[in-house]
Point group: D3
Chain length 340, copies 6
């Protein structure tokens, strides 16, 4: 098991109970989540020493976010405390043909206003095995992007493997801005995770298939993957493929390419989906565990896609599954019989 | 946007949480609903000035019903206050092959004992664009039927378009009684909504297909629709078609006929259904909006059927969807991807 | 309607709300249940005088278990009071490819430490029509097995029909231990319920099909059934057949053999499953009612399989359905239309 | 322990959670209750065979009322099934200077439309030790009053002790109507429970103290009690005395007179009150148990007043306390130390 | 009844259930509130046409705030829609010696970024009887202060009575900044509400008593009040006096001075307090109703203090009491007897 | 801040919501708690490195107990994993004169079956500043007592201060058994916490005052304290004094003696009590923090008694208060004004 670092924002998630709409609820369910925090929780569940790097206010809502991570075994020693607010996202869970809705209220959060002096990146990366971040972290603010750049430099100095989930978010920045920040950061990245849309918007690669329409063609990705490795020197390029049949029914698989072999995972039919949010992050958590501990990229990918399929059945952003549970599913036990 | 009047009963709905049976629950979820109230809420969500006409007790339960309407933007100026009780219906939500159950406890409600003097129909219909009612309103009591008749007369005097959802309810009256009341009211109706069973029981038209069995044949309706227009001079006859596969899985489409063209909508596969109640009313709300604001009956029908498909995914009687959301679904966006 | 006796353990069931995992919940939903208690509740719902025989502590948690039975009409006159604790099982409900999980905490419960002197089996069996037990009861403890043996002897003395649901539980005993206890008890059994796996583990019969894999072949059972009747002299051998497609989607049917005719029921497609636990017990309750009140084994089996299909849609261990509701489903009304 | 009969209405109680007002709640807590039903539950908790006589609809809401009684050990064999509805009362719980509010919706309930043919009073009173009713039962309807009269006649025929809680309800009848019905019924009554206001409004006795104002003078009651015994031949006259300091803080004591000795109980200071409803009924249950099983009227009264003090700390109409718990409080253990 | 305008911010209130601390809750109760919104809701409950003026985002959380006001009868026609976020405050309710805690997260809300062009103050003040605001509104931002100034000018132009609740908030501005903004606004104010601390911090008046310590001396206020009227020409100066005995037990009274008579209200002992937040606002709502509809300042004050005493017993910011309920308490009915 | 070790059992606490009785609830609130675990959580809140030593099963309920500790910052590195079950206690919260009730179901828990080999006491005590345990730990089982004895020996070897809360539990052992185990353990104890009843039952000291009756006389303790120091060589003897006025209203203070000065704290009047459980443990946590970081025993005691007064206002076993909050109360700020 390794020491794994992730860095980004953890938000307060306020979701309506069941399938209620925003305008009809009188309570919010509280969860905490965010791309890199979710990855840290996944890794902690697989037995790694996972550290989440971020900044949170000193008040009780900030503390509750810290506690949510501690509860699930994530180390919070490197979370700076200060600033004004915890970023929020409101979530309404859809059903059938009604999509889920997310309203972000994250401007001005503590991490958006953090500066490199808030973190001792040498101490953070000392002895670490893996550093993971997503495209959301540099998109939050220029200050946040600079923090991330310094984290990457420190990671490379300490020979830490770096993975990046491109994860383009149009509410946070434009494709132009994204490319201006993300492209220079790619020199630090060993493992690149992202679908064709992310690749185009963050890195300028043109997709060949119509992902929006739900028809996905795995093989079409091979060319993109090869081009990405040629350009940026990644060790692995990886993508998930989601078929959106309805808000509660998706197909789910993934692909990996190491410059030599192109491997496509088995496909899961997820019906019903309990909570889609964090599905991609749970995949990243799974692939980190897989690449760190398994023999082949195929085994790693199968672990990651099974892990993220399970995430779709669990409420909240975090993927609370053990490596044993994931392995059982990846090994073929998907019939859902009661475990007594 | 127009001024839209609906008239009928709004009831206190007491439903068991989740899929609990009546005998095992210790709490009831509270909603307020009723055919015409539901239509008013739909219209208010599309931006119309919607007025609901009814009578409710002065006490706090009556007030809570008023508040439920105000909350969603329905004008309650024309709700008379007085009488003894708010009608109730108990709802147990089914799943899979277990059907939902409704127990009515509505006898003696304020609207059942209302009289024409409770309402100033001239003021109500002044400047209105549309008046909608269902077959439930005259079925509640003879007094209620007389109130409705006077409302129809006032509507015609003020050149208001009148729509009627036939909606036969065997717990409220017999087919003979229904025909004796409903047939004379048809002279005021421009837009008639009802499936073949309603047409037979309320108006004496014989259906040709076996709706109960779930196999529906849209074209079989054309003859009935033509006959209804010939007899009553409706401008439009409209019906929804439900395929009941299970309590949580239905097919859903609709048909419209304007005396010239017979149009059948696209079919939605709704799985899972979150709350079926109010599905027909949300269709009526959609068709009113469609016929008031769109160019063709086909566009209006597609809007209405998409609106009511969405209703099946929302808890409670009311359809809380914007015109934009409905238009997105009618335009083909049914894949349920998260809206961020 | 008859006097029906069941004997076993009733446990406190602590389940996470919705689809929450154990580690993320802050409340437990309380239900009480256990194989034979569930059967008693089913029988009481069909109008029988159902008595549950067990032992429970005198404290309030024991009383709450008694009250849960009384609430649904089960007679609790023969429940001895004493001992230290109510057995517990923790339940986490799965979804899609994530299985439900059960954690048992039942050691040291009052019934496990009961002795024959706690019960007056002559009084219990006097005038009874049916006595039902499952393989769980003798597996709880040697003392419990001895209580059961004496109950069987008393049942035979009073000419009571005895049914047994083999229900092998590997957490409670080994196959060797089970066979040493169960085989001698079979002399008292008229109606034997159990799938091929139970037959092998409790009675030493070798299954021919791969039930674990989800592919089931009804006809393959005929040979086993015949062998069981030849060996033990059962009047009926019965088994359910579950197809586990996912945690929330199962196929469900059953078979019966009376030594002459082998009958296979219709198959139900259950989607979504609300609560699987108690599915087998609700089948036993249905078959007891069917064999006691219907003309043919086929009618009885169709009633039982419809009853247990409905159970899958009801939260908790108990099957809260009336004979009328079961008969409606067995008669073909599975379309889930709202019952008004 | 004895066989105790009570007769009256059991209603569905819909109460707002916590201290929410009617207009702000989205759920109702469900309880079932009613004067005589509450008395039956009290008696069952003390170990008596308690039977509740009433009429309830056959549907599931009626069944849930039956189940609520069975759950707590009350026999429901003599509850007739039929009629249209379960009476309802809505409850909003106050706090501090804000009073609790009750809205009744009980017209047309099954018991209000019951007739003597619904009950076999000979079977009901056979072997009974006590029959209890309150002034609410004859106030519900003339039919209900006639049922009650026949029950009283049967009780006397079978030498059953009869107690009556006068319990005048101004929403149900006028003082004139009450006196015309109640006075003739007093010939059957052995134990009369009621404060000075009830005595005046039901029986025409003029009170001397200002109960409304909260200042109560026990001794002032002695004269009234003596007069009541002289006129009606009661064996005991009993009254509780409530000091209403606020909605959540009351003083509570009681008095009894057997024609010879006038006994005043100790006073309890109840703060906070959790649920006041059913306080008087729990007193009646306590006095029945006390007079049936204790040596002196003083002991009986102390038991009853302690029992009803405890009721104020328990949510719902029913008083869920054992005789041991009541005796401990009556014996002086009011310090609230944790019972481990 | 009059047309009453209030202007300010309405926030999303997220409170922990019961007495849970922030760090231990998994759900938040949702309420909407804010000083001037609360006043509008009070006035609507007394039968006035109350209009709330503010700005809210177009998204669903903004809509939910609008709906909360409409639900309770407040007109929302003058709420501008736009901007980025709804201000939030987190609330943890204390008990006994543990104080309640509020964490504000309101920076950047739509109203803070509103400009005068968002509002048509002439239309708003046309025909109005009263305009109320508090010191929070100009403290939110300079833009908000300018909006308010223009509203005051329009109010005076239309001869509208203006009231101001000084309500100093140290988290929003310093005393220096407050005085620089508030003093010039006093020329528009007819009715000034504020305790001695507010008077000092907003207007520069020095208090004579130690309010923090809980000992309050009504008469000490007379001098301050006289000085305030002399300086600013108010028609009335008014203050509440809170005795903080514990988080759940307060004394509560108020004083008014019209330049001639100094009147002190009766004192209420509030125990337990259910929800303190909005207590001052409910007082302002009461005094507006009192001064608009009653003969003397004394009657108006007694109404206001009774209204706000009741508020302390109601969950949420809003005071949901009718004028009849307030009048009953002001008239002396504080014993909390159940209202049937 | 120091390294603090506590050792004992952490149990799953299942409590009824609000003031519901055991027999009427359908859900349990989940908390985890136990004497020494509670002390660890208190210390972690004050900023210490707190380690809890125990044994828990590997399954998810055991994991949830671990997570509850991690959530609040307690280190769980020294919790052995294995064994069969998590001990349980059921809690029903009383009100007014109705006491709270606890039902224990802890036999056979993992810690009861732990052995010294499960723990590396040298590693645990290395560098520690304080080791705390209570009389519950050795009472659980002989194995547990032996584990504790070895922990004490290791603590002394590493010069760790040892405190013991005597905490006699009659459900776990007799006074004779307790004395045979506890007396020899006193040689390792520096700080002894316990009231006169504990001193008598665990150590054989005879109390002089009637604690059961609620009248407590602080000075009466001085003699006992002196005797205890003379006999066992404690550095400090400490006791809390609870006045049980009702289940929801207590007086609370404490005393300390260091062999020279006898100091009595201020008294707190706690009304209402939200949750009494863990009150004594929160006192122990406070006294450890006080004695470790403050100058005088008086300051330490005032901190401890204020900390435990606050605990009574917080749901659950754990005391979630910061040192700043405790200091504010100890410093006199008990008026409960809202903290904004």
């Amino acid at each position: 098991m390794g020491k794994i670092i992730t860095m980004g924002e953890i938000m307060l998630r306020l979701s309506t109970p069941g399938q209620s709409r925003f305008v009809q609820t009188d309570t919010f369910d509280i969860n905490y989540g965010g791309g890199e925090a979710n990855v840290a929780v996944s890794c902690a569940h697989y037995g790694h020493e996972a550290y989440f790097v971020s900044k949170l206010p000193k008040h009780e809502i900030g503390q509750a976010a810290v506690n949510a991570l501690r509860r699930y075994g994530v180390h919070t020693d490197f979370i700076a405390r200060g600033g004004q607010r915890v970023g929020i996202y409101y979530l309404e869970t859809g059903a059938s043909m009604r999509p889920s809705k997310v309203i972000y209220d994250r401007a001005g959060s503590s991490i958006a206003e953090a500066c490199p002096a808030d973190f001792d990146f040498d101490a953070i990366m000392e002895g670490a095995d893996w550093f993971h971040w997503s495209g959301i972290t540099p998109a939050i603010s220029d200050a946040s992007a600079e923090c991330l750049r310094q984290a990457c430099i420190a990671a490379k100095k300490h020979s830490v493997t770096v993975s990046c989930d491109l994860n383009f978010r149009k509410k946070l920045w434009t494709s132009e801005k994204a490319q201006s920040i993300m492209k220079p950061l790619m020199q630090y990245v060993d493992v690149c995770i992202g679908n064709e849309e992310d690749a185009e918007l963050c890195l300028g690669f043109k997709p060949d298939a119509d992902v929006e329409g739900g028809s996905t063609e795995a093989e079409g990705y091979k060319g993109i993957f090869k081009g990405m490795i040629d350009t940026f020197g990644f060790k692995y390029v990886i993508s998930t493929l989601r078929e959106s049949i309805s808000a509660t029914h998706n197909g789910w698989k993934a692909m990996i390419y190491d410059g030599k072999e192109f491997y496509v995972s088995k496909r899961y039919d997820i019906d019903p989906i309990i909570d889609r949010v964090g599905g991609g992050d749970s995949f990243s958590g799974g692939i980190i565990h897989g690449l760190l501990t398994m023999k082949t990229q195929g085994e790693a990918l199968e672990f990651a896609v099974a892990a993220s399929a399970l995430k779709h059945t669990i409420p909240g952003d975090f993927n609370m599954v053990s490596a044993e549970e994931v392995a059982a599913l990846a090994g073929g036990s998907a019939n859902g019989r009661v475990q007594r």
